[in-house]
Amino acid sequence: MTWLLLVALPIASALAVLTTTGASRASTILLVTAAMTSVIATVHAALPTEQPWFGGYLHGDATVQLFAPVINVIFTGIAVYVRARVATEPASRRFVFLALGFLAAANLALLSNHLLLMWIGIECTTLAAALMIVRADAPASRLASWRYLLFSSVGLGLVLLGLSCLTRSMELAGQAPTLFLDAMPAAVSGPADPWRELGVALVILGIGTKLGLAPMYSWLPEAYDEAPASVTAMLGAVQFNCALVLLFRIVHIYRPGSGHLITGELLAIGLASVAVSTVSLVATRNFKRLLAYAAINHAGVIAIGLGLGNSASYGLLLYVLSNAFIKAILFLTAGKIEAHYGTKDTRSIAGLIKDLPYSGLFLMVGTFALLGFPPFGSFLGELLILSALVTSGQMFVFATFCTLITISFVATGRTIFPMIWGDAKQARTWPQQRATAALHKLIFLVLLLVLGIYIPPQINSLMTHVAHSLEAP
């Protein structure tokens, strides 16, 4: 029941920020609230799973136990970043209010035991994020925000329509229509019908839009590029995982009856996403856009892994968790670099490792993790997904995937590494970087290494449990 604090605390804090006293301490309230929700989520991850409560609408199963600490810890890192930025750009009350609303909605989506409540949570994160993307000094951010909201509205609309089709399918099968996650497996145990197939296809397409998967991915590079770094990290590492958990729920429930459809659709949109992002990675000279295209690329890999199921599932989870920390490290570092150089053009930046040692180091290590180097979890995760492609006989997908990944590997390295090494192109003055200001990214890095080297038994058990739920029967 104390899981409910993950939603209640941010809401209470958001209301506190609206008061005169709270407004002056907005960034502190954000940080303290995020830290508290992180502790609550982490403690709960170690406790036994709980039965649904709050009328059955909320629950704390293994998936919640695995993802709640991740998104709350990442949000805490983002709050640290926002607090550090207060020295140069005061955090507005409006921003902190929306960020806390975003956190409450993200946690609500995660804790939901009802698909429609999950949809409502994700829709609320979208409305909050759309406003946070807008920067007063950047008119282009308004257009990016609008495109984000437009695509999200259409994507989530498709999800809603898909859910309606799924309930219609249950009615036609003589079952009481339900969207409660714990009741759905029994209600959909019969053979698949056209309503169900249509519903599953629409839901996957709609969630794919939120994840930045092809064909409706074009909002992502623009939004990630124009949004403040903290908001980009929220979208890429927090909201992305909430939408992904919704997709996990659908796959878990419908894989037994509609396995071929799920595998086919996810493999197709996954491979298409990897293809379009690879072409864009080769062409771009904007490091924030490059990271955005890399995010689409990774979403594609995740879709492929999820489509395969079976032995890819554990690797997929490893990849997803690593990906969350990688995105948080890279997007927050990109914000620092942009603030320092006043440009996003990779050709204007060099010698980062000397100029901004911590940012240079995190960009370097983050890029290695992004490219799937050992000893990071992304390496093992990608390896397991590739292995599953071979064992499942998907040789065409395997060959295309390997080719595209190699090209994106070279394109990313060719653009990022000259930024890190070499001599600075312009003399810059910048206060000396304090190690404490980079502590949150260091924690993310440690967690990333833990996922690649030694996964504690408790986390491993949760991952195995969740992976099992995603496997094909």
């Binding site: 409502i120 609008w146 909201l149 509205s153 259409v154 329509l161 309606s164 219609r168």
Partner: protein, 207 residues
Amino acid sequence: MNPLLIAFVGVLLVPLFVASWRISLFGLAVQGLLMAWISYQLDPTLDSAAAWVRMVDLVVVRGLGTPLALYAVLRSQRATARHDVISPNLMSWTLAIALVLVAFRFADMLVPGQGNEHSFVAGAATGLLLGLLVLATQTGPFSQMVGALRIENGIAFFELGTTHRPLAMLIAQALIMIATVLLFRWYLRTLPRPTMTKVSAVEGMNL
């Protein structure tokens, strides 16, 4: 075929051929009110809170609030009367009519035979496909808003045929719709306007 369905499909289709933002908004208003009428026909007793929430959503939010909210902004901006929701050429018009036929064919395949269910599928598919057509062919914020709202209305039309959702969920959905429309209004006020007054005849393919 149900006359209300014919009216609903008509109000989805006709505003596409009239290059006026007022007609586009009027079309959205009539869609909302027609849905309310259909909902009332299906459940005239209105004996549950959920039925009332749905009615308020259809009449107040979709039928009146949304078009009026956008109308007020455009009027204050003195937007020129002409505004194409799809490119004004034979290709786009043919495509729009073809999509209506596709939607009905799709409904025939999914729900063989006539009846309420067939009508809901045909109407929803028409709304969805025409909304996607608008989104795929337009770059201006107002046109895109109209496209997105047409899709929302298509989904709402389909939901008329489903069992009522829990009351709290219906309220939450209506509140989300209101928040989305308020955001649309804000974007319409703050986004650059050139695309609003552009005559899209020169943008699209002309036959």
